[in-house]
């Protein structure tokens, strides 16, 4: 399989100098790719370029060989699902949050079907993160982009979410995950991309 994503000499400017500068990397379509680097090196920013919550100030980002800016942005975001560090439940029940096909999806992410009728904001943080993954999977994405998906979780729910993320990658989904935890990167990922702090 070819590359799902490619960063070509990407630069993103912040308020005081570049956040990312001259970054290039390829992310294959198969398996789980971890992005690691020190805090402040722009890892989160790099993820946000993949679904165009942000755009680069220089260089380009490609999805399946085409600049992400050439796709319809709403379509791009359905294909490339980004899940943030802190789960964000929306108002309504868990089933409302996940939408159509919630039964199957809750099972896929390891949540009991009984939670479906509960208000989404009463879930534990670990459950909420699983629900957010189910909500993302409901869009039938080609790629799942995760920003430190376990950093807000306690140790026990962390291991469960890690197993889930690994199994999604094994099912053929492209998974890109930012982590600051070297253990997580080496144990979980098929490959690791390192980011260095931009020199301004």
């Amino acid at each position: 399989m070819g590359d799902r994503f490619e960063y070509r000499n990407v630069r993103v400017d912040g308020d005081d100098g570049p956040i990312v500068d001259g970054f290039s990397a390829r992310i294959p379509a198969d398996g789980l790719t971890a992005i690691v680097g020190p805090s402040g090196s722009g890892k989160t920013t790099l993820l946000r370029l993949l679904n165009r919550l942000d755009d680069p100030d220089g260089g380009s980002v490609l999805l399946d060989g085409r600049d992400v800016r050439d796709y319809d942005v709403l379509d791009l975001r359905k294909r490339v699902q980004l899940v943030g560090q802190v789960p964000v439940p929306f108002a309504g029940t868990v089933a409302d949050n996940v939408g159509e096909g919630w039964e199957e999806l809750l099972e896929r992410v390891g949540l009991p079907v009984a939670v479906a009728t509960r208000p989404a904001d009463v879930l534990s943080i670990g459950e909420a993160q699983r629900m957010c993954l189910a909500r993302a999977l409901a869009r039938r994405p080609e790629a799942l982009v995760l920003d430190e998906p376990t950093s807000a979780l306690d140790t026990s729910s962390k291991a469960g979410v890690e197993r889930l993320v690994r199994s999604l990658a094994d099912d053929g989904l492209t998974v890109v995950m930012v982590t600051h935890d070297p253990r997580q990167a080496t144990e979980l990922a098929d490959r690791v991309v390192e980011v260095r702090r931009a020199t301004s």
Partner: protein, 260 residues
């Protein structure tokens, strides 16, 4: 007989300055430090109202009706500037404010004049215009500031919604709704309790000027309904345009909100 307006001369105004002295005395005794502000406010109100009194006297004179649209335009410009200063953290706030106060004033005043509910005269158009404009101005400021601040503080949820493939309008909808309500609620509440808590300005003015209560309330009802519609329109336009200014064409939050 019971017409107060003709009886008030500058002597009466001078006597009423005693009441200003009461306010100043309260401030002085309690060390509120507002004596100077009260003095300035007294002089300014005197000078400003005296000036506008002369201007209105002149504008209402025969053959000067053609000036009314110009007066209204000046009021629109002032309302726009005031509102855009308060909503300044919204890019293009001036355009948003201009559109919402103009739409509110033109449509409500337009309906009242076109249907012959009020006469097409400077004496009707200018005071009604000023009421609708000052209300629309407050509404536009409230809606702009509220929507911008809510999107900034709920950025995480807004971006989670965008990430799921929602459009900017869909992702901003919960806060758009709140901002509209914030803009419209004060006037809706006022309309509910009118006459119970306070006798509103237009009615009070007519009563003091010697009009019968029946005709005073008829005018007041028209004013309240005009303000309801005007505020709703100002809130609608301000909300819609502000939302558009806070997202890019590509359904991203604008940079100042992304990095907030």
């Amino acid at each position: 007989m019971n017409d107060l307006s003709g009886r008030i001369g500058f002597g009466e105004v001078a006597l009423s300055l005693l009441l200003v002295a009461v306010a100043a005395a309260v401030s002085w005794r309690r060390k509120a430090g507002l004596e100077q502000d009260i003095l300035v406010a007294t002089f300014r109100s005197f000078a400003q109202l005296l000036a506008i009194g002369f201007v209105l006297e002149w504008l209402f004179g025969p053959g000067r009706g053609w000036l009314t649209p110009i007066v209204l335009a000046v009021m629109v410009a002032t309302a726009t500037l005031t509102s855009s200063v308060r909503g300044k953290r919204v890019p293009g706030a001036r355009g948003v404010a201009a559109a919402s106060v103009s739409v509110a004033a033109a449509s409500t005043l337009g309906v009242l004049l076109a249907l012959g509910i009020v006469p097409v005269e400077p004496r009707a158009a200018i005071p009604l215009g000023s009421m609708i404009l000052s209300n629309a101005m407050n509404t536009a400021s409230l809606v702009m500031a509220r929507l911008r601040d809510d999107l900034a503080s709920n950025r995480r949820e807004v971006e989670a919604r965008l990430s799921l493939g929602q459009t900017a309008a869909e992702a901003g909808a919960p806060w758009h709704r709140t901002a509209l309500r914030t803009g419209m609620l004060p006037i809706v509440d006022n309309t509910k309790v009118v006459g119970l808590v306070a006798l509103p300005g237009a009615m009070t003015g007519m009563l003091l000027a010697g009009a019968s209560p029946a005709s005073a309330i008829r005018l007041q009802l028209i004013v309240m309904y005009m303000l309801l519609a005007g505020n709703a329109l100002a809130a609608l336009v301000a909300g819609q345009l502000t939302l558009r200014r806070l997202f890019t064409r590509d359904h991203q939050l604008i940079r100042s909100l992304r990095r907030a």
